[in-house]
Symmetry: C2
Subunit: 378 residues, 2 copies
């Protein structure tokens, strides 16, 4: 039996929400962090490991997958879940954001966007309809409408033009999506840059069209955190309480806690995986740079109380050594550490919201970061 896609709000604590996103592939406990599996792999992790950390869902990038191995090939091979051996829910983006940041010779029109691949220069077209088609071929459980995300700072006119185009594309995406099997969902994406009134226009426009979930895009693109949070303060109260809200591409652990406090349910970010490949560990003591020479003779693990073997069992001296030698295992272990930390952060948030003490949780976690890394025993 295929379940219809829906969101179930289980508890609130201030604006923070505990809930479940139900998809045909399984349940996503929210607030949720989605590890990024750009090219059908969460870099440096076996899929079973990602699951064991408590991730209910991962993200795939439409831009990368449409270029390699192509959506048609993934479909022919049984879909993205089978291809990457991740039988749980998958969310895909629309491809639009990566086209803006990676592709060459981009050309935007009412119809869609044309571009050349950053890999081989080949020519491609992406329309709202084609984006939904690709995401359908991939078999994505939660799909995104194609939108236009403007770089900030941008003029009011530019932000407004882009959000209106995105609203028209939202309608086209919704129509294109109707052909897909039940249990999947298409999310509309709120744009509007850093202008509160334009954010409101975008959010209301999308709610009028009606989606099973709402993404908030165009944030965490370099603006100060308080700008991002003030946009959430405008947007989340407009969004229906019985639909999930997904803040795209966010973010640091602090960004996530602050956004959960404002009623966001879903997050994704390359930060834990990318940092893991660059010697940076996230922990309850804050960020720890393992490249630093102070770790060279430190026999302590990153966090002896962690459930994650990578954080608990390997010495800082060993991690430092692996990084100095550019050994694959260094990236593998720190990616594992970081995804484990992000998942534990979300699990803690879910428990705290359920128990009506999210503010305390947030304060405690932040206090741990401020106190910083434990000193070397002397």
């Amino acid at each position: 039996m295929t379940l219809d896609f829906h969101y179930r709000l289980k508890a609130t604590d201030g604006a923070a929400r505990l809930g479940e996103v139900v998809t045909a592939r399984g349940i996503v406990n929210t607030p949720a962090f989605m590890p990024v599996g750009t090219a059908a792999t969460v870099k440096g992790m076996y899929p079973a490991q990602v699951r064991e950390l408590g991730a209910d869902i991962v993200l795939g990038n439409t831009y990368h997958l449409m270029l390699r191995p192509t959506a048609e090939r993934v479909a022919q091979l049984g879909g993205l879940h089978a291809f990457m051996r991740w039988p749980h829910p998958i969310l895909t983006d629309s491809g639009g954001f990566q086209i803006m940041s990676l592709a060459a010779l981009r050309k935007m029109s009412e119809k869609g966007v044309t571009f050349r691949s950053h890999i081989d220069g080949s020519y491609h077209e992406l329309s709202p309809e084609r984006s939904v088609e690709i995401q359908g071929l991939l078999g994505s459980d939660i799909q995104m409408q194609l939108d236009e995300c403007v770089r900030l700072p941008a003029s009011r006119e530019e932000i407004s033009r882009a959000l209106q185009l995105s609203l028209r594309w939202a309608e086209r995406s919704k129509r294109a999506f109707e052909a897909q099997p039940p249990g999947r969902a298409l999310f509309g994406i709120v744009q509007g840059g850093d202008a509160p009134d334009l954010r409101e226009v975008s959010a209301r426009g999308l709610v009028d069209i009606g989606f099973p979930g709402y993404s908030i895009g165009g944030l965490a693109v370099g603006e100060p955190q308080d700008v991002m949070l003030s946009m959430l303060d405008v947007v989340t109260p407009i969004l229906p309480t019985d639909k999930p809200r997904y803040l795209m591409g966010v973010g640091t652990p602090d960004d996530i806690l602050e956004s959960v406090a404002r009623g966001v349910d879903m997050f994704d970010c390359v930060m834990p995986t990318r940092a893991g490949r660059h010697a940076l560990a996230f922990s309850r003591f804050g960020k720890i740079n393992l490249k630093n020479a102070r770790h060279a003779e430190d026999p302590r693990p990153l966090d002896e109380e962690s459930d994650c073997p990578a954080a608990r069992d390997y010495s800082r001296a060993y991690l430092h050594h692996l990084i100095r030698c550019d050994e694959m295992l260094g990236s593998m272990l720190l990616t594992w550490v970081n995804l484990a930390y992000y998942q534990s952060l979300m699990k803690g948030a879910r428990i705290a919201i359920g128990e009506g003490r999210f503010d305390d949780y947030r304060a405690q976690v932040k206090d741990g970061w401020v106190r910083g890394d434990v000193p070397v025993r002397s």
Copy 2:
């Protein structure tokens, strides 16, 4: 209670030997393949995974470890076993071979060798005594004497000079090793290039000195396989049957089977790990290059009958995709596949020797390679 190091011959089948090398850290079932953990990591593998594949022992490289993180630091951190989280036996080489192949400004004398690091140009000295000291600091269970390995082709005089130097160094190494705790062993290394009579001189010289195990060095350095095997035919009959024989740096699965047939007990080679990082899989169907476009749409795993999840569960199309995208997981999975294949090859050999059918086993395995990769179902 610490066990004394010893070898127990359990069965023979022709010249092939089934046995156990007993060390303070545990038993090594032979014939054994030792995965190479150059810089205190088997590249791309968690240590627990290496163990699960059936490896009883791994190899560490003295040259790399003396430069980074240094033997003194490893000792201070509790030894190599604790450092790399491998509580089972470890074999280390003497450092000599890598100095010859990697270091700059090498200078050889009766006393030892001086060189500059390939990493930062720093100056170092290695003598037979210092090599044993370093291996002792690492806590290695099976250590190698420092020797001089000449490049082939070389003149008789040059080969003879190097083997005589190596014999004098063997004696010095043995004396230096006496200070180490029981349960560990130092192996002498047979040299003699491609000259049968010089190999004999070397082997008899080492047996006269007396070691708990014998390595055969200076082979698999570019000479044809029949030359290598003819050297084994000369050397192994000279070596005592109650001591293990280790053929250094060998080799292909075929090299290994032929050497087992000639009475070799232990092997190490970077081939399975290095090939795994270069898209090449070893399998019972022979070598398979996953870079090849014929795999791009192939939903079959590498070997659906394999016990190794990497070989059994992931499609060739997915492996091909990961390699094309230069994804870490591609190297991780193929390294896993290859080490699993090498370990299964050794396990098969051990069982076959015990049952007195090693010749049949070798023929069957080779027949599988000759038949080649299974065709795509049509």
